[in-house]
Amino acid sequence: MSEYLVGPADEFLPGDRRIIDADGRSIAVFNVDGVLHALRNYCPHMGAPLCEGETRGVMLPGSPQTFRYSERPTVVVCPWHHWEFDIRDGRSSADPALHARTYPVEVRADANVYVVVRSGR
């Protein structure tokens, strides 16, 4: 298990994102509504830098020809083919079997943010 320092927690505002290099693994930490989440910056589709894409809300499923949009910015959109992944659990909006790798994020006693990577992940 390894831990990687992201930075001081109080500099991390809602909507912020930081991308860190974790021994060759690129990992992004997002602040979604005050909660921190970490995702691998690597799209499970074709390997794009997923976390450099737009973060935004989601169009909610409904009956045909109706549109409802939730503005809470809970997904990141891949910069290549626009597949959406939920920042909170890495799940693809379109294919529940597909997900981006997620990691635990912790704010330690030293008031810094850390990402925890279990070996091999």
Binding site: D16, R17, V77, W80
Partner: protein, 395 residues
């Protein structure tokens, strides 16, 4: 809000791998300032007036145009038609944005490092991203003037940057005589690899005699003819789909192959390859996984309908395999990835499909990832042998 990027891990380049020296049959150079990028290349004052570029700089001063330095009468500037459907996420790869700003694909140097060098490519066919909708410009003379200026721009700004960039010479499908003039202007230039007839929707598929002057001109110089989607749903072309026009971008985009199935069938049945026995025709970004069905059905029907087209001496599929080439992107992603090889064998991809990325569009393929499921014994024909033969590379 802070967005701090830049530490992204990238797929390792394949310098020593199977892409080394490969030819990419579909890369899109884009304008920085729209049609104003073409201003230095439009000589005729009348055409400058019609394109709203009277005040723009003249002469080969492309690099001066980096800034937004053109004074313009508001509303007078011509807008180049693009697809009439809006992709809610835009049509460009966000990570392909040049470091000093500007649209993806607008900085030749960055395309060299971000695409050609990253993957070790030996060459790329430049299909102008700003002129994909040229077939939807209503006025043929203006379409021809835009095409001419665009070709000069490609040579001056792109091919000068790196000789691996090769021109798909855009010509106006609206007016084949003007198109042929453009081909004669450039036919012997080593920078030109193909004559590019943008996809269009004028009631005449590519087998129609309307287009023959273009094919004749291309043949005079041994150049292949290629086409690419975009124009069918741009500008004055609105209804690309036979059974009713799409209402959503998704419908439009997923239905593109339907248009190219029609073009392919038209080319073969009209006898284009009997009339022009050395013509090579490329359907770029048109798909290929549909070939087993369309070719089988063409052959089957032809056996009972030969009276209609007695000029066809051979089964239609044979003309296709001999004369027509398709491109890989978007690579098919069957549920069981190992089925890709089966699909390719059914489509006889080793004879008719060439590698393409579609950089920097949103639906581009990451070359190494896209081709990794292609059976090893089929890769080289896609990446090297077929494009080399089709575009007469190195000749």
């Amino acid at each position: 809000m802070t967005i701090d990027t830049g530490a992204g891990e990238r797929i390792a380049p394949s310098r020593s791998g199977f892409l080394s020296g490969a030819f990419d049959s579909d890369v899109h150079p884009n304008f920085r300032n729209g049609i104003r990028d073409l201003a230095p290349y439009v000589e005729s004052t009348a055409m400058r007036k019609r394109m709203g570029l009277l005040d723009a700089p003249r002469g080969s001063a492309a690099r001066v145009l980096r800034g937004d330095n053109v004074v313009q009468v508001p509303g007078a500037e011509m807008r180049l038609p693009g697809v009439n459907y809006t992709n809610p996420g835009g049509t460009m790869r966000l990570d392909a944005m040049p470091p000093d700003g500007g649209p993806p694909g607008s900085d030749p140097r960055f395309v060299v490092t971000d695409h050609l060098d990253r993957h070790g490519l030996g060459g790329a066919l430049l299909i102008g991203g700003g002129v994909l909708g040229l077939g939807g410009i209503p006025e043929p003379e203006i379409a021809a003037a835009v095409a001419s200026a665009h070709n000069l721009w490609l040579e001056d700004v792109w091919c000068r940057e790196d000789p691996r960039f090769r021109i798909a010479l855009v010509v106006p499908p609206q007016d084949p005589a003007l198109a042929a003039t453009e081909v004669h202007r450039w036919g012997r230039s080593p920078a030109v690899a193909a004559v590019y007839v943008p996809g269009t929707d004028n009631g005449m598929a590519f087998g129609h005699r309307h287009y023959y002057p273009i094919y004749e001109a291309a043949l005079e110089y041994g150049l292949p003819v290629v086409t690419h989607p975009g124009g069918e749903s741009s500008g004055t072309n609105t209804a690309m789909i036979a059974v009713g026009k799409p209402e959503y971008y998704l419908e439009f985009h997923a239905s593109i192959p339907q248009v190219y199935m029609r073009h392919l069938v038209s080319l073969v049945v009209a006898g284009v390859f009997e009339r022009f026995p050395t013509l090579r025709f490329g359907l770029i970004e048109a798909g290929w996984a549909w070939l087993p069905h369309v070719l089988w059905r063409l052959d089957k029907d032809w056996k009972g309908l030969r009276d209609e087209c007695p000029w066809l001496q051979r089964p239609p599929s044979e003309y296709v395999l001999e004369h027509v080439r398709f491109t890989t992107q978007p690579i098919y992603e069957p549920a069981d990835p190992s089925d890709l090889g089966t699909m390719m064998r059914l489509a006889r991809a080793d004879r008719c499909v060439m590698f393409s990325s579609d950089y920097p569009h949103w639906d581009a393929d990451a070359p190494e990832m896209a081709l990794r499921r292609v059976p090893r014994d089929m890769r080289r024909s896609l990446t090297h042998d077929l494009p080399s033969d089709f575009f007469r590379l190195g000749r």
